[in-house]
């Protein structure tokens, strides 16, 4: 048996090591934020946000077309991914207590952690081989990536709706489908919103599938079957460029992208915290009403 003092010291050192691990992990986060802001902020002005990308050395080059392209990609991707994801989540939560439901849940978990470049290959194989590098193929890839995220958060949100609400609605003679749509989904609404926001934050930064599908473009292009620009692609292509003005553009685009992604995450955080508070408040008012009527 070691002496008491030695054990105490060992305990102290181990605690410090664990704290050290946390600090080590926070160093890259802080450094990335500082670098992106300090290098990206000087790049941003009105022309940068509104002009299209031009070749190195041209004045008034911007990333307006990439911002538009990213919005289009995420928008079309959401049109594909959100409905499919939400309906999958509804099925798994409300009807999924069987082997098919468990299979669907299993593969949702697996897919949520799947390499996105493989999803990009799928989209390439299915769409790009037919119509060429295009907005629709990029949106398809992003939509597929969104499905498991949205399905998982939807399922979690609907599970948190208390069973008493389901039973109350059914007892009033409301059919099951109406119960799901009107009672359960509207109660789990904030959960669905957070899921959608998380999925959007996730795919807004996706780069690898876009290299394989939407490819990038330096013009204002909005056609579904045309290659389209995107913020992550600008960052990727310009980061390795030898020209200082293109590198600065990459940092400016990174600042815009990271601001968007991190603020979505913070919003989700705020909604989730509020939801717990609301849930508590609802319980309280119900109790009060019951005691009043009783």
């Amino acid at each position: 048996m070691k002496s008491h003092n030695a054990r105490k010291w060992r305990n102290r050192i181990a605690s410090l090591l664990a704290l050290g691990c946390v600090l080590v992990a926070l160093v890259p986060l802080v450094s990335i934020l500082i670098e992106v802001v300090s290098r990206g902020a000087p790049a941003i002005d009105w022309a940068f946000l509104t002009e299209r990308t031009k070749s190195a050395g041209t004045p008034d080059s911007g990333i307006g077309n990439a911002i538009l392209g990213s919005i289009l990609l995420v928008g079309w991707g959401s049109l594909i991914g959100l409905p499919l994801g939400i309906l999958t989540g509804v099925y798994v939560s409300e009807y999924g207590d069987n082997s098919f439901g468990r299979t669907a849940r299993f593969f949702n978990d697996v897919l949520a952690n799947f390499p996105s470049i493989v999803i990009g290959l799928f989209a390439y194989s299915l769409i790009v081989t037919v119509v060429g590098f295009s907005l629709i193929s990029g949106a398809f890839a992003l939509g597929i990536i969104m499905i498991p995220i949205v399905a998982n958060t939807t399922e979690e949100a609907l599970r948190m709706v208390p069973n008493s609400l389901r039973e109350a609605s059914l007892a009033l003679g409301v059919p099951r489908w109406k119960t799901v749509l009107k009672v359960i989904i509207s109660n789990g609404r904030s959960g669905l919103v957070t899921g959608a926001l998380l999925a959007i934050a996730r795919v807004a930064g996706e780069t690898a599938p876009l290299i394989l599908t939407s490819f990038g473009n330096s013009f204002w292009e909005t056609g579904l079957t045309e290659p389209v620009a995107a913020l992550p692609l600008v960052i990727f292509r310009n980061a390795m460029s030898p020209y200082a003005d293109l590198q600065e553009q990459a940092w400016g685009a990174a600042l815009i992208l990271i601001t968007m992604v991190l603020s979505l995450n913070v919003i989700v955080r705020l909604i989730t915290r509020k939801r717990f508070k609301v849930a508590k408040a609802v319980k309280k008012t119900w109790k009060e009403r019951l005691s009043l009527s009783g």
């Binding site: 605690s15 946390v22 009807y95 299979t103 299993f106 470049i117 059914l170």
Partner: protein, 320 residues
């Protein structure tokens, strides 16, 4: 108790048709998503057929990648993937376990939530921004201090031979370590928090220090969860594309030295996509199929090990 389909199905009413319609619509969507994915796997295999027929099994065991002779095999990329993932896991998992221990056992209650959120934010940073940061910030640190120091101390081993460029397998591995930390730390933390307090109390009441109780009671109890978390991190590291593509140097060679550039399965696809066609394109798709299988095996294994703990994975993954 969960409601089952049996409720209300005993008697026929007008509502039952709509009920069935709604149920089978949602079920159809869930089935469609599954079928779509498996259908696409078949399509990918079909696209890779030319390469599979040309190179056969040698695709996985030979190291030639020569567009001039139209010869493409995958061993250098499988090697690069394993090597960078090993560095990422080797650095990332111990740090993650430390973080998980701090967050679940040591931290004061008020700081746990915000600190967990900050760690999870690491998963929200898009991969391409990690790459950008690695090129401009990490690289000077590596070439200036870290790599010369490693060469001084460990230069005699085959792992640290050669010159210091800062764009190499070591850089890619370090970036991977940072990127897997949020996943591994969150899942490990969740599995440690699932350890019943009675375990900790039993150890503490025998006079154990916090360190001893954590090691004896918590870590041994949460071992399988931590292992599953590490496997999940491995899955991340294997499939990560952008940050690796930007840091690994993109050289199609097999070299044990971490200071030499390399190429992973994901990065070779991303790098060669625009200009590939014919047999090369087919070979890239086959590499994608190999990556798919590897990722599938790893993630299925992790899911089986972790079960519902899988929900602790930060959903904010920043675009791999």
């Amino acid at each position: 108790m969960r409601l089952t389909g049996k409720l209300g199905s005993g008697r026929k009413s007008r509502a039952s048709f709509e009920d069935k319609l709604f149920k089978y619509t949602t079920m159809g969507v869930a089935a469609f998503v599954l079928a779509l994915l498996w259908g696409l796997v078949v399509k990918l295999l079909f696209d890779a057929q030319m390469s599979i027929e040309t190179f056969g099994f040698e695709f996985l065991t030979s190291d030639i990648w020569n567009p001039n002779k139209d010869l493409y095999t995958a061993l250098p990329f499988i090697f690069g993937t394993l090597m960078t993932a090993a560095v990422g896991i080797g650095i990332g998992v111990p740090i993650s376990i430390g973080i998980a221990i701090y967050l679940s056992e040591l931290a004061p209650a008020w700081i746990r939530e915000p600190l967990s959120f900050l760690i999870e934010l690491l998963a929200a940073v898009p991969s391409v921004i990690y790459g950008l940061w690695a090129i401009y910030t990490l690289r000077p640190i590596l070439t200036g201090t870290v790599e010369p120091a490693l060469m001084d101390v460990l230069g005699w081993t085959p792992l640290f031979e050669g010159a210091s460029f800062g764009i190499d397998k070591l850089a890619a591995g370090i970036i991977l370590a940072v990127m897997i930390i949020p996943t591994v730390a969150s899942v490990s933390k969740e599995s440690m928090m699932a350890v019943p307090d009675s375990q900790r109390e039993a150890a503490l009441s025998l006079g154990a220090t916090k360190y001893e109780s954590t090691r004896m009671a918590v870590l041994s109890y949460a071992r399988s969860g931590i292992f599953g978390a590490a496997i999940l991190g491995l899955g991340r590291a294997v499939g990560e594309t952008m940050a690796v593509t930007m840091t690994i140097g993109n050289a199609n060679l097999i070299s044990w030295s971490l200071l030499d550039p390399g190429q992973t399965m994901a990065s070779v696809i991303a790098n060669n996509w625009g200009e590939a066609d014919g047999l090369m394109l087919s070979a890239l798709v086959e590499i994608g199929v190999v990556l798919f299988i590897v990722a599938l095996v790893i993630n299925v294994f992790a899911r089986l090990m972790l079960g519902r703990l899988m929900k602790a994975v930060p959903m904010t993954g920043g675009g791999l």
